[in-house]
């Protein structure tokens, strides 16, 4: 049933693909973390921006990521923007998780006591300086665990990129499967890789969390 020789044959190929998966995760999360912070800050800046951000966040969170990937990949070329599959996919994943991350940041901002804002006004700090020097340093550490959860969730959604033929793990496993008619080993290996990476990153996030708790 399980062919070990075949398993060892395909491990190097899957290893190559794993690099693409990790790259997509890193780039996607970078977009999500930065854009999410931007969205959450826009909420603080003005009530009108707040309403706009709420609607965008709800729209993005209520529709499937797969559709959003297709949308970017197929619709953008119509507007004259041609992106390769990897870029379109990473941007779609980044945008999707930015919506989730912005809610996390919002919770962080709300956890900063109102008195901190009032004290900054009393000290005659500009709104920008208040935000950068007083609010952000207090809002960010408590949200790290929640961001870590979304990093893992994002990582587990990268197989969706196979739907637009990005050569990441899942797509590579599918190609090996259709070439050799053996799906058991490649698909199982992909599962094992994801499980391993998820457990390792969960452990790392927990370490970071306890380190932050000791520092603050």
């Amino acid at each position: 049933m399980w062919d070990w020789a075949f398993t060892f044959d395909i491990i190097p190929v899957l290893g190559q693909a794993a690099i693409v998966t990790v790259q997509a995760t890193a780039l996607g999360f970078l977009i999500a973390a930065i854009l999410g912070l931007f969205l959450a800050s826009a909420r603080l800046a003005s009530p009108a921006a707040g309403v706009a951000v709420t609607i965008v966040v709800e729209l993005v969170r209520s529709t499937p990521l797969l559709i959003q990937i297709f949308f970017l990949f197929f619709v953008l070329p119509k507007a004259g923007i041609v992106l390769d599959a990897f870029t379109a996919g990473v941007i779609a994943i980044g945008l999707h998780y930015a919506a989730y991350c912005s809610e996390v940041y919002r919770a962080g901002f709300e956890s900063v006591p109102r008195g901190q804002w009032e004290a900054s006004i009393a000290l005659n700090l500009s709104p920008w300086r208040t935000f950068r020097d007083i609010i952000l340093p207090q809002a960010l550490p408590p949200v790290v665990p929640a961001l870590g959860n979304y990093l893992i969730a994002l990582f587990k959604e990268t197989p969706l990129l196979s739907a637009i033929a990005v050569l990441e793990l899942m797509q590579t496993a599918k190609i090996i499967g259709s070439d050799t008619f053996r799906y058991t080993e490649p698909v199982t290996l992909v599962g094992v890789f994801f499980l391993g990476m998820s457990l390792v990153s969960a452990g790392l996030v927990r370490l970071l969390e306890s380190w932050l708790q000791r520092r603050y």
Partner: protein
């Protein structure tokens, strides 16, 4: 208040779909997409049922089962939370037949999504059971109830109220992950959209309609869960005096 706002958003979404259907370019795609949407809703409903049953079994197994059952439950939860839903779907679809187990696509889809969401749900159920006030357990013991009796009559009804909001989130996740079944050639909303896109290349109207339809389904789920939340909250005191 929230429910009214969500209902307004749902109404707006539906009226945009209706408005677009007046436009010839959009109207041609509506019947096919609606057909796909019905399959999407069916998969969501059956998948939700599978998820709830699995979650309850796994949570009770992890909390009260004998050692072997406990480890089985933990393994199930960690494996299905640790790997991607798509990988699980493909594993069931491609690997099970190699072991001589042939399931049709619909069963595979419902099983894979149900098992995936069920693993997350198990932790929700477990958390809710554990969060029931200690005094309730003690009082049930004092009344000489057996453990199944205690769970069924005292603990689970209270835990049920606590687990509705997180289940709402999971059901939205489920609605969204149904789009994955298109990749094992089930003719759901996403599949129909891709198929039409390949034959007509009318990308913008097709994907706009699809996004609106998913939005309508998700909003409906959210509204139902919110209403349920309000209903069950009545008569249950959670840490406050009523």
């Amino acid at each position: 208040m929230w429910i009214r706002m969500l209902a307004a958003m749902l109404a707006a979404t539906l009226s945009i779909i209706a408005l677009l259907s007046l436009d010839g370019e959009y109207r041609v795609f509506l019947p096919g997409l609606l057909e796909g949407a019905i399959l999407t809703i069916e998969i969501t409903l059956v998948g939700a049922l599978v998820a709830m049953v699995m979650a309850l079994l796994a949570a009770l197994g992890k909390l009260y089962g004998p050692m072997a059952v406990r480890w089985l439950a933990i393994t199930y939860i960690e494996i299905f939370r640790g790997t991607s839903a798509l990988v699980q779907l493909f594993w069931l679809y491609f690997v099970l037949p190699q072991f001589g187990l042939y399931l049709n696509e619909f069963t595979v889809a419902v099983l894979a999504l149900g098992l995936n969401i069920g693993a997350y749900g198990a932790e929700v159920v477990r958390g809710a059971i554990v969060s029931v006030a200690r005094g309730q357990w003690e009082a049930s013991t004092a009344l000489n109830m057996s453990r199944p009796q205690m769970l069924r009559r005292i603990i689970l009804p209270q835990a049920f109220a606590a687990m509705i909001p997180p289940w709402g989130n999971l059901f939205i996740e489920l609605v969204k992950s149904t789009s994955l079944v298109s990749l094992i050639t089930l003719a759901d909303l996403t599949f129909k959209a891709q198929q039409m896109n390949q034959t007509t290349l009318k990308t913008v109207p097709i994907f706009t309609l699809v996004l609106l339809m998913y939005l309508a389904i998700s909003l409906t789920v959210t509204i139902v869960m919110r209403v349920l939340e309000q209903r069950t909250a009545i008569g249950i005191a959670r840490g406050k005096v009523v």
